[in-house]
Amino acid sequence: MAYQQHIPFLSIFIPLIFAIFIPLFKNRKAAKLITLSSIIVEFILSAILITYLNNYEQGFFTYQLGHYPAPWGNELRAGLFEAIIALTFGIIMFLSILGGSKGIEHDIKERKQPFYYLMLNLLLASLLALVYTNDIFTAYVFLEINAVAACAIVIAKESGDTIKATIKYFIMGVLGSGLYLLAVAILYSITGHLLMSNMRDAILNLPTGYEIPMIVAMVLIVVGLAVKSALFPFHTWLPDAHGSATSSASAILSGLVLKGYIILLIKIICRVYGIETIERLNILPIILILGLLGMILGSVYALVQKDLKKMIAYSSVAQIGYIYLGIGLGTSAGLLASGFHIIVHAATKSMLFIASGNFIEITGSKKIEDLNGVAHTDPKSGLSFLIGSLSMIGIPLFGGFVSKLLFIDSALDSNLSIIILIGLAISTMLNGMYYIPVLLRIYSKKDMIKHNLEFKSSDVVKYSLNRLIFINVILGIFSKPILNAILEGIKNLG
């Protein structure tokens, strides 16, 4: 076995080990250093894994945990798609922590900061486990770890709003994972396996008469994971949680945590059921319609918000709708669009949250109406907000444009293509309607009231925003190799 095959395991294990050392130091600087170094190790490893898989003939490999081979033991499985997602998670998390470092020092009590970093380590480990695992019960355990870690980074701010938001988030998270566990129990009793690839074989050989339990299990999984990743009718917890947390936590939550569940759903659709079985069971149209509703109504909600961070959070609901739309199409072109949009949204939304964190620090207010002229006080955040919004609207040169193009391209083959295209057009228009007024406001010079003029963004924040801008432009201009790699990865997902 080549040494690179240990990477999926190591990249889950290293953040967990590093997390143990944090309470030993009880020092926020040391905690931050440990967390950042564990993330750096993670993304170097992921980069090595990508280069390895690029030249690997089979396209994916399974990694056996423990001494028991396939039908009994536990397994990890890595392909190009998983490796790219892991790399994205590492980079975005690193930049979000750096960009939000001022917010962390400001919002969280000094004594609690080491624990915040500990939770970030746990979060990274559990996200990577969701990405790499080949066992649906392991996925359940890490779903719960993920829920606890995500709730903990929201509540770290300890204001009244965040406590309320965390409780809502926690309840919805527990409901979601309860549904997922019931589905796992049903699937286990039908197939007799817990490993995804073995379940696939068992499902293909099922005698007729098992359609109803299969549909029930799939619906439970879709609803459970949709609750956790805030698909439209189940999104009620998201704006509170993402809008009230400290800015690095908001960036990580909407950039990465939502995506972990979506990746798990994609894996279950492609690997456990297989696209053909799913199409026979008629589940994809429901996902597609919920995605469509989400991307229109999420934008409508965003339009009426007066609070900047809540507006961005509702915009996340709309973008999650896009991702589910791509999954609901059920073609590899749709999955390609979703996969690419996962990366684009992670890069863009984290940038928007970090920039808006800086704006809030300058004006001392969360309201959009107080934002006049902040881009002149802090040009770098202003520029990144501009680029982020343009990317979310779908202006050429930025990542959002490429993913919209991919969605349109994949929608053309569908039966519902007219409805999907109209939905995309309405959603794009609405995106413009709520982002552009904010942009005009931050660049206008009228009534610049009570700015904190002593505000000076630190070098670390500038560094992180520069890198995020760079990533967004790269995603927009040089998307070809990334798209080819994702397409290659999606072929090996099943």
Binding site: C151, G160, I163, F170, V174, G178, L182, L194
Partner: protein, 121 residues
């Protein structure tokens, strides 16, 4: 209907799941929500435990080094899943109780209600 009665363990556990789920979703009181969460988890453990049991067979422990053949023992794997699930469920309960404590310190009530927030702000 008939198959629901034959598989009455599974039916009961799904009904319990529904009860726990609706308590967790609909009740205002946080302690009741946590109890609902526990009912929900335990119902799934019942489902899994029933799936592992095969009537007329013995516990999967080999005594005195005599292996009686695979038809002699029940399926031990769901038991393992239930144990893992219990650990997870205990952790989630502990975390939920800690959250409830924080909430009570801040708002002086256990009800999760919009009225409370409006009064505060």
């Amino acid at each position: 209907m008939g198959s629901l009665l034959i598989n009455y363990y599974e039916s009961i556990s799904v009904i319990l799941f529904g009860i726990g789920f609706s308590i967790l979703l609909l009740h205002k009181n946080l302690i009741r929500k946590i109890i609902g969460m526990n009912i929900m988890d335990v119902s799934i453990f019942l489902f899994l435990a029933v799936k592992g049991y095969v009537s007329g067979r013995e516990v999967p422990i080999i005594e005195g080094n005599i292996f009686q053949g695979t038809d002699y023992y029940i399926n031990p794997l769901p038991g393992g899943l239930v144990l893992t699930g219990i650990v997870v469920s205990v952790c989630m309960t502990a975390f939920a109780l800690a959250l409830t404590q924080k909430y009570y310190e801040k708002y002086n009530t256990l009800d999760l209600d919009e009225e409370v927030f409006r009064k505060r702000s």
